[in-house]
Amino acid sequence: MSRLDVHKTYKLYIGGKFPRTESGRYYSVNNTKGDLIANMCLASRKDFRNAVVVARKAQQSWANKTSLNKGQILYRIAEMLEGRKEQFIAELVLQGDTKKAAQSEVDLAIDRLVYYAGWSGKFQQLFSTVNPVCSAHFNFSNLEPVGIVAIIAPEKQSLLGLVSMIAPAMVGGNTVIILASESNPLTAISFAEVLNSSDVPDGVVNILTGKKDELIHHMASHMDVNSIIYCGQDQKVIKTISELASKNLKRTAFYKKKDWSSDESESPYFIEKTQEIKTTWHPTEF
């Protein structure tokens, strides 16, 4: 006798919880044959704003965790993902990837988490300076997280792209609100389950599913978001984001690359993009 499958309800991930969208709306995701795979939450402006509130609340204490601790939490995410590889491969296949491509993407996503876990406590040393000023002062410049980073994840390579964006922002002490791939959103919400079981404090990473057209405006214009990153090639979207970002001088980054599997897709410069430089002076004479 065949057994009836139990399907997962895909919800949002905000503040460490899995709420449905407050709007009660959904959109359907189909496989290549046109069959329904899942109904995803169609996140609203209000969902995004709720995510900003929890991300702001979580930011200071996340940034204040030791770099060893942040590194270990990122490594823990990799461990958890490794253990659930099969599920992610299955979801990617369901969304239309070949088995081989799916396997390779999940492997790369895990390795990318390990890569950025390893940068914790090191990128600061790489990008900080002691500045030999021409007066009797000790002067140094170090990195601090920019704060809240809103991210529009790449449309393709929905897991690897998502991880490639979350990990550097997170290891840099930022909190993140990321809009998942619109057409391939399943792994993003399953990845939230991984985050949820990896000692990541509530609110550090928040994941939304929904329509870019609807949400990008709100992401780029929210006055309590410090930085916005868009992964994609749509020139109109880039223009809109830049215009709206000027309302509170958000730092913007646009990653147009289509392939996130190459070696160039990981570097400490992705972390640096989410950082501020602080310079401190103190006299050396009294």
Partner: protein
Amino acid sequence: MHKTIDTNIFKASWTYHEAPESTSHVHVKKQYELFIDGKFTKPVKGNYFNTIDPSNNQTISRVAEAKTEDVDKAVKAARKAFKNWSALTGKERGKYIFRIARLIQERAREFAVIESLDGGKPIRESRDIDIPLAANHFFYYAGWADKLSYAFPNRKVQPIGVAGQIIPWNFPLLMAAWKIAPALATGNTVVLKPAETTPLTALKLAEIINESGLPKGVVNIITGAGETGAAIVNHPDIDKIAFTGSTGVGKYIQNAIAGTAKKLTLELGGKGANIIFEDAAIDQAVEGIVNAIFFNQGHVCCAGSRLFVQESVANLVIQKLKDRMNTLIVGKPLDKNTDIGAINSKKQLKTIENYIKIGLNEGGEIYQPVCDLPKKGNWCAPTLFLNVSQSHRVVQEEIFGPVLAVQTFRTIEEVIEKANNTPYGLSAGVWTQKGSKIFHLTQKLNAGVVWANTFNKFDPSSPFGGYKESGFGREGGLHGLKAYVKFD
């Protein structure tokens, strides 16, 4: 108990004789043209505007106004020059920049006098701070030109192209140096616009650039007001915009270049918190407060314009501050005794006076020492606002003048909260003799530059720039190179 000093008696028994810096050694032409493609060129439309001495409102010189056509000529010259300049070896590029540094040093006195004449700042400041820092900035970045491969680990860098640079009137030559030096070191070419009220030292710099033998078109200096700036921002063949000025204009620029390939760095306004704890060295802190807000007439984006004094020492600090303010000499910029010079322009004086009115209307308690302000020119006495709180406009908004808003606090958590409760994030100051408290504060304050037991210090090797609405990007130091390179 601290006793109030009768500073009027002190003043009466101590007369300062005028010690004016001579202007005899200074060459200012009656009229300046636009510096395009290595030549001083008349503006296409033939318009000129006056640049005046804000201490007496007399005209010093007439300066060409660059229109869209002139901006276009300058950009074309810069584009043409880019090919060879960016292909030159770093070593050779660096040597040109070293030359510029040396030439500024040789003519430092002349530059200092012109800076004070044109901008109103005390000669002591232009002589000891602005001009030497400008020369040092060129000297510092000259050395980077052939060492860029060490600056960005595991990356090869390229110059961006033609940089459009727009600078403010508060530190005219220094801001030109901050913009031009790193741009040249990294192989870019430049179209620079000084502010309309202070164009002269940039035009003198153009003379030096010619004397240095820098290939024509590598640096173009064009004068004009906001319209000229907008023409630079919107020019389609500029690859990078670097702007220092108000947050309002910064937002306009980010919006205007949206969707283009232009890169952007912005150094904008501020409302710096200067925090005095009860365990601070009080006399040093009072000097620090004065330097934080009255340096350069308060025309400083990183000025410590919000003072926070711990309640237990508030009366003492405020009294000592008032006493110190009574001894400040407001007067002729070229007098070496002068502590506070002229307000840069009539327009800025109006802005400041308007904020003083607003402060009074909102119920603030004002303190200004009695001082004899000259009859002619633009002047503002150093000003305190007491009994103000976070909701007052003089506490929230950048005044860009010698006006200090004073608040008190009880706990460290309270002052961190108050200090960070602003859209700006450029600078902050902390005064305490306890080391751990300093580092606790410097970590918690959302500001790009934090001065501990000091204030308003600058150096070519020290990155400067803001958090939040004070802009993005850094100028100075290794980090300042990033604004002018792209990765391969």
